[in-house]
Amino acid sequence: MTDYLFETENLTYSYSTRQPRPSLDSVNIRIRRGVRTAILGANGAGKSTLFYHFNGIFKPVSGTVKYAGKPLDYSRNALSELRNDISVVVQNPDEQIFSATVEEDIAFGPMSAGIDKEETERRIQDSLFKVGMEEYRSRPTIQLSYGQRKRVAFAGALAINPKVLVLDEPTAGLDPQMSQEVIELVEQLCVSGTTVIISTHDVDLAYAWADEIHVLREGNLIYSGEPESFFADYSAVASAGLVLPHTFSINNSVQGICGGRAEPYPRTNSQILCKMLPEGSRAGKIRMIPVTDSVPDSGDEGISSGIYGSVTRRLFKLAGREPDFHFNAIEYCLMEAIGGKDSVLYFDAPLKDRILEIIGRMEAFGRKIEVVM
């Protein structure tokens, strides 16, 4: 039996009775535990409205919402318990941050949940570390930039150790590096057992990251399943107010120009390149070095290096070492390998299996990348 985290049955919701059509109209959605899930839709499609039903902020006009198989209980105590399990990070950090200093804001969640000061302190440190904001701990929140505020909002959500993290447009308004950092952090959370649900209209992000997507259009759920099947239906994509992810488009174009099969659909640039490489070309190796409490020396002078994971990032910073690839390092190392060059990837030890899985996917595109541990 499939382990559904959220299930809605004919979920209907209107903000007011005068609305010409409901904001959510008989939505039946099932979100599986531990699956990287993205909810896609144009502005006003009902993504945020749907999210707010997951943590009981909104109560359906009709229909039901189930969490872990049980219909939501809208009593005060039950909602409080529910919101300790499900953390929602809203799109605009200014709406979410309301304490005067960074540490006070991050402490808000744990302290509201009645967690003692010692544990709260540990969680503040841990959350700030994960989002790379340790040095801003005692800064007033009003003095932070937008990107920094977004990180603080993220840290505040992490501090309650949620079982489910719901992110509304997590990369909106962030610079490309910070976006990559957020995705890396999300990956870490997924690996540690947190179910992450992202709401976005960034099709590139959703396509590259999600195992499963749910697409909303004007309050109706029009698709649930693997991303490839949805994007293969151009009319559905267009009617949802979306566009094709660039990797998907390029793959189609290459297929049109060079012939061959569209499947398997590449989701990243390295997968596209892999597909396009001539038979017999030599691929480089990726040397993977796990990092736990110090940065080991690879001894590979002149080879490009990348870092992946917050512990590794921090230790590199402390050691004053500069990798070649700060962000999106797995992808860059794969690109190096496809170009026939070797590279070194330093990573947080718990992320090993996930990295191997990503590298292993290249086989489906005709290239086995050799990994040296």
Partner: protein, 273 residues
């Protein structure tokens, strides 16, 4: 950074940040009271010295430009007020200057002249002490201090929320102001008036919109009806009470002793009195 946030920045970087907010508050109130209850011209100088030394120790006299401007304006108003006091003396007393200007009788007496200076000195000295408090105590600290004296929770929570969302609205207003500039919104008097009114309306609607969204965000973060405090500032201790009482008594006694030390009328008008 907007000018509005400079004050907050200053308070958070103050060397007096870790002092008990209630202690500072009590001390400042005591100094202000003793500044008023004594009639010695020397007491405002002592108050001013305390205020200036607190400002020096807190922020090295750094005050945001707009606060400096507001201070200058306050001093100007004080000067005008004091001038009015000095020329409206009791006609039962002998005048040191007596004239008629348009519809006004100008009648300056020895007492009114001295009183005017006393008001002026008290005002300036009081401002220095209040600014030293304001530039060393962020609003959330003040709110926590209010909690410590069992002020209703609703009041202190409201202070924090107003503080937080007030800044956001000010930021929004700044953005709207700049956008209006870009669109020639301040071109001419009438245009300026229209734009200012539109911005005011925009801010009003933004505030209700922000309130709605903030409520959702609060619920998302499992808001239980109060803001738990992680770092509570030091409480009001016996030391603060002792320092306050000692300062009050000493300044009061000093005021009694120095009551007739300075006679401004004598200084200005000398032999003509």
């Amino acid at each position: 950074m907007s000018e509005e946030t400079q004050m907050d920045t200053l308070a958070y970087s103050s060397r007096m940040l870790s002092w008990a907010p209630l202690g500072k508050f009590l001390f400042v109130i005591a100094i202000l009271i003793v500044n008023i209850v004594t009639s010695s011209m020397m007491v405002p100088f002592v108050t001013l010295a305390i205020g200036l030394s607190m400002m020096a120790s807190s922020t090295n006299f750094k005050i945001p430009f707009f606060v400096g401007l507001a201070l200058a304006e306050a001093i100007l108003i004080l000067a005008i007020g004091s001038g009015m006091i000095s020329i409206t003396g009791d006609k039962a007393d002998p005048a040191i200057w007596d004239t008629h200007l348009l519809w006004f009788d100008i009648y300056m007496t020895h007492e009114s002249f001295n009183k005017a200076w006393l008001v002026m000195f008290r005002g300036v000295a009081g401002m220095s002490v209040m600014i030293s408090f304001a530039t060393s105590t962020p609003i959330p600290h003040l709110s926590q201090a209010l909690k410590q004296i069992h002020m209703p929770r609703e009041v202190s929570e409201l202070i924090v929320l107003i503080y937080r969302y007030g800044f956001l609205l000010l930021e929004r207003m700044d953005a709207m102001w700049e956008a209006a500039h870009c669109r020639m919104g301040f071109n001419g008097f009438m245009n300026t008036m229209r734009t200012t009114a539109s911005i005011a309306v925009g801010i009003f609607t933004s505030s209700s919109n922000l309130a709605d969204k903030a409520q959702i965000a609060l619920d998302c973060r499992n808001y239980q009806g109060y803001f738990p405090i992680y770092n509570t500032p030091p409480r009001l201790g016996i030391k603060w009470i002792a320092v306050t009482v000692i300062a009050f008594v000493l300044i009061y006694l000093f005021g009694m002793y120095t009551e007739d030390w300075i006679d401004m009328a004598e200084l200005f008008f000398g032999g003509s009195l």
